[in-house]
């Protein structure tokens, strides 16, 4: 990977929001206005932090420099940033699996990937155009710890191999190419 600072990378930020209307929108504004590209939001409704806040996980893309600006702006706006980038989940990675996903127990596939690694599945989309009996595809977005992407991929390959599923891997570590 080249070390240029203008290279866009993926980041996962965990925020704590107060349970008020507009809180999420307020939190997203500093991301866009500081040059970040919002990829996905995982809103854990019903799941409160010990302080009674709502945890939200946001995946975004930005250059390292802009990312620092985003975290500063979030904190400046009074938003509680519990985990940002390199502190915990620093890389978002997307893989697509194809094959007999449903017959081979998709939820087992996902939980085995999560259990064997420290990765978290932040987003899962399934497309089964021919119904559950035929081959289908799933796009899985994983938040991984820094430099753990290769190990996570190994696990994905292993689980997929056992179930005769095809893995379409991202290009480059962390899939940012």
């Amino acid at each position: 990977m080249s070390d240029s600072t203008d290279e866009v990378r993926s980041y996962t930020v965990r925020l704590e929001l107060v349970d008020e209307p507009g809180a999420l929108l307020n939190a997203l504004d500093p991301i866009a206005s500081n040059g970040g590209n919002l990829l996905s939001i995982f809103h854990e409704r019903g799941n409160l932090t010990p302080r009674g806040h709502i945890p939200v996980e946001v995946d975004l893309e930005a250059t390292p420099e802009r990312f620092e600006g985003i975290v500063e702006a979030l904190r400046g706006a009074g938003i509680n940033v519990i985990q940002a980038g390199a502190e915990r989940y620093s890389e978002a990675m997307t893989v697509v699996l194809t094959g007999h996903l449903i017959n081979t127990d998709l939820s087992d596939t996902v939980s085995r990937i999560q259990e064997a690694t420290n990765a978290t599945v932040t987003d899962l989309s399934l497309s089964a155009p021919e119904g559950t009996e035929d081959a289908s595809s799933a796009r899985i977005r994983l938040a991984t710890e820094q430099d753990a992407a290769e190990g996570v991929l190994d696990t994905v390959r292993e689980v997929a191999g056992e179930k005769d599923l095809r893995v379409i891997e991202p290009l480059g570590p962390g899939g940012d190419l």
């Binding site: 497309s127 289908s136 190419l177």
Partner: protein, 318 residues
Amino acid sequence: MRLAVIGAGAVGSSVVELAADYGHTVTAYADSQSAAVDPDGIDVEGAFERKQTDGIVGDDDPAAAVEGPYDVLVEATPTTLGDAQPGFGHVEAALTNDRHVVLANKGPVAERYADVRALERDSAGSVLFEATVGGAMPVLSTIDDFDPEHITAVRGVLNGTANFILSRMGAEGLGYEHVLAEAQDLGVAEADPTFDVDGTDAALKGVIVANVLSADDTEYTLEDADVEGIQDIEGSALELAAEDGRTVRLIAEVIEGEVRVGPRLVPEHAPLAPTGTRNIVQLETEHAGRLNISGRGAGGPETASAVLADVGRLPELE
């Protein structure tokens, strides 16, 4: 230079047609059954006509073309795996006679690189093979310019047929079989597209790049490559990728001594996601960041232009 062009297909015939434009003379021309040989230059139009009407290029034996007279042997017979014959034999004959060789045929440098280099060491002639990787694109000469030592990774879309199929599947939401049939109708895919869609063709190019990059003279062959094709890619996989701003491309990757070819997820507008039959190679350099080279990766005149550029790089023989 005087050229012996071995192989009279899309590439060989284009080399013969364009040679005069580049200031060279074709003194021998062969297909699998026949040859035209003339130390003063063959009758090009006559050879093309006979190939059209009688299926042969002249009255000589193919072996007469390989034996000379020429300065550079242009090898444009079919790429074969394993012993890389008949191409390897032609390379051997030319180098043993202290003549230069320019390859369009991937076989000798993908499957028997060390043998080719050993023959070259004992010869006054040199071997160049720009056309074997990326057709008209100057991939190998750019690697050479930068010095392989300063290149940390090479990634690329190196098969136009596979790229056409994946980009059509992505754009139109069509299935693999449908798009393949369409590509065959358009003449983009050959009647037997196996090597294009199973990753073999891209892998041979990756192996050639690995051989060129190899600092410690490790020799690579197709067996050393990890190869997956695109035949069982579901349309739904491309659909899901697109929803996320991504797409799937058959990528050849040479990094840290590993050659890997397979379908990979790439951002939709990334340089490594060209559309149609376009090829691209991305060099990761130590001091100059990423360098992208894109262009036409195949076609008779395109490949012939790379062959003739190689001829132009060769020194005059004594």
